[in-house]
Amino acid sequence: MDETSIIISGFGGQGTLFAGQVLAYASMDNGLEVTWIPSYGPEMRGGTAHCTVIISEEPIGSPLIRNPDVVLALNLPSVDKYEDLVPKGGVLVANSSLFNREIKRKDITSLLIPANQIAEEIGISRLVNMIMVGAMTRLKPILPLDAVKKALEEHIPERHKNTLPMNFEALDKGFAFAEKTG
Amino acid sequence: MVSTTAEVVYQRPESFTDVHTHYCPGCTHGIAHRLIAEVIDEMGLREKTIGVAPVGCSVFAYKYFKMDFVEAPHGRAPAMATGIKRVLPENTVFTYQGDGDLASIGMAEIMHAAARGENITVIFINNAIYGMTGGQMAPTTLPGMKTTSSPFGRDVELTGHPIRMAEILAIMDGSGYIVRRSLHNAANIRKSKKAIRLAFEAQERGLGFSMVELLSSCPTNWKISVRDSMEFIADKMIPVFPLGDYKVSPSLEGLKV
């Protein structure tokens, strides 16, 4: 497996950093090398928040990357910022609930997923991040969905434990949406 | 035949080294040192005491006390003492600081040590002037007082007012014993010793931050005689820095020392 770089980007509060950590835990538990690095500082709440996750079988050099293989864009500013940076053949998953435009790039795998609507259907709005991750595991199968679920189960904060079944449902629905649309 | 018995009435405290101090004639640092040494002897604390010397005339205090000592950066003695006391809570830790050290450059350190209720003892020598650097204006210099950096007399409009540390530190919730005494005559020296004793007693009882401010002389930089220096303390300094008990923890009241 080549090194895979993932950027998860959205508004503060959308759970982008935690989604990245779930991928990092899943990678580690699957015996892979991984780095997770957040944007940090005063923009932590309300502004944009993103993290970079690099997954590899080899020791990882740079924890940061200009052209991420995979982008999970949870809002429009993130689509605008990263659409052009995904390399040819890369993956862009965009939360179409929060914007109304086409993805211009034709040389990448892109998916418009109405993550907020799906989350509302499940019952809580905080699931957008896991819906996006679920879709990603279908489009870029570097980690089995079960490994992500296991990592989520083991690392979800205690106060959110009661939402675990809904988080699983979110992962499944994201995966299924990608399968159906892709 | 008349038989006589010799009685020792005065000797070098055990807590002192056999070294002549470098202090000027008429300076009260030597008296303050001796009072501390006597108190530590009387309380049997010498072998567990760690002193923190300042920057200033008393920078070499550690040469005169026969006990473990460190020498702090200017003003930072309360921080160093905090660092030591927190890892050696069973030891007795005291700082010895002048007015420039404690009330100017080390203002943050002394205030916060008191606010935290650090269980340390501070001996504060207030002689209203910077001694070691050659007689410049101190934060405690009296209004109108001439120094090498206020050659026309301290103009409070330009340079502010003297700071009364005992009064300030007494209002900190973390302090347990805060008093001001003077070293200008025998009666006041006795009272000063009693205060130093109570300050160390406060520490031994875990009552929090304790400080004894001692009004002290500096005939060299005041440029007056030793006798006039003592009168200067009595007539000029005490009205600005009133002697008194600013805070005494109830646990110390009635303690006979």
Partner: protein
């Protein structure tokens, strides 16, 4: 012990606890505050000392006090806070007591920003505080290395009665990586014979940095210098990557070194024989290894997150034997692998002579890149 996914600042702090740190005194500053927060939650329950001081000035002097008491003491801060600590650091060096200072570096000068930087190289490596002294400086680049470097820092500090700086940039403090923590070490009961602990049944100890007679201070300075020469001989650490047949030598520390290793991997795929020397001890610098490499490589590229500070040290060692070039980002910018790859390609194609100051050629290249990024 199994690997855990650990955040740099937390891993650092927990590693210090397991290495037996007995006192942590600090002051909040981004991006190192998590270090302080972590210590505040762990140390009191272990019966060890923690104080959030009123300032960095006070914090370092608390460390100084605990170090004088013979305890493993440390602080962690970030660039502006480290500037404030320099007074105490100089006193610690002058008193010859061991202490560890972690600097999670950010963009500067002045208030600068909170983004990752290596702009404190001069301040940390060349002393920073006043007077003649030689700090040991470790620059880990991975979370595991950060963990390992903390215990090493204490060991070196005690072995040489020296100040030891562990410097990383904000990336390292915030990054999570799988790493393994060492088991909890028992706190040493041994009290150094120089420590102030109360003069019970022995002559008093005094710890001071004052040597009023210049003759005495000179002897002290000489002692520190000779000790430093020992450290230079014994304690050099570095990591090599793809150096065996390298023609282009890239030198970078911390995050810049890591990023360079990614670029080197890609350069190799394109047939460029590049390799990396990543100093882990910046002081002492891996001088001998660099001298050896100057006999092997055709050209050197120094990569840093500052204006070329380690570059000066490299130039001094290389002595013009091999052309040296420079690429840096400043102000809290982290270079990305593609930038360094571009540089490696350019350097590999450059047959020209070296320059007295590689910054002269770098400045317009950087200006071009900044324009391009806009």
């Amino acid at each position: 012990m199994a690997k855990e996914l650990l955040k740099g600042n937390h891993a650092f702090a927990e590693a210090a606890i397991r290495a037996g740190v007995e006192a942590f005194y600090g002051y909040p500053i981004t991006p190192s505050s998590e270090f302080l927060e972590y210590m505040s939650s762990r140390l009191p329950s272990l019966g060890r000392a923690f104080v959030q001081a009123e300032s960095e000035v006070s914090a370092i002097n608390m460390v100084y006090g605990a170090a004088c008491a013979g305890k493993r003491a440390m602080t962690a801060s970030s660039s502006p806070g480290i500037s404030l600590m320099m007074e105490g650091i100089s006193y610690i060096a002058g008193t010859e007591v061991p202490a560890v200072v972690v600097n999670v570096m950010r963009g500067g000068p002045g208030l600068g920003n909170i983004a990752p930087s290596q702009g404190d190289y001069y301040q940390m490596i060349k002393g920073g505080g006043h007077g003649d002294y030689f700090p040991i400086v470790l620059a880990p680049a991975r979370v595991q290395e950060a963990i390992d470097s903390i215990e090493l820092a204490f060991d070196l500090a005690e072995k040489y009665r020296s100040i030891v700086h562990v410097i990383v940039d904000g990336n390292m403090g915030q990054m999570m990586e799988p790493a393994e923590l060492p088991p909890m070490k028992e706190i040493s009961k041994e009290v150094p014979d120089w420590a102030v602990t109360g003069a019970k049944g022995r002559e008093p100890n005094t710890l001071t940095s004052i040597y009023l007679a210049p003759e005495d201070e000179e002897v002290t300075n000489l002692r520190l210098l000779k000790r430093w020469k020992e450290i230079e001989k014994n304690e050099v650490l570095y990591q090599e990557y793809q150096l065996d047949d390298a023609e282009i030598l890239v030198i970078g520390f911390g995050t810049a070194g890591r990023v360079a290793s990614s670029a080197i991997r890609e350069a190799r795929e394109e047939g460029i024989k590049a390799g990396l020397l990543r100093p882990i001890t910046l002081a002492p610098f891996p001088q001998e290894r660099l001298i050896e490499l100057t006999k092997q490589v055709r050209r050197i590229l120094v990569v840093e997150m500052n204006s070329g500070m380690m570059l000066d040290d490299v130039m001094k060692i290389v002595k013009g034997q091999v052309p040296v070039e420079f690429y840096g980002r400043m102000g809290g910018m982290t270079p990305l692998p593609d930038e360094i790859l571009d540089e490696i390609k350019r350097v590999a194609a450059n047959k020209g002579p070296g320059s007295d100051d590689p910054r002269d050629e770098w400045i317009p290249r950087l200006e071009g890149r900044i324009l391009g990024e806009k």
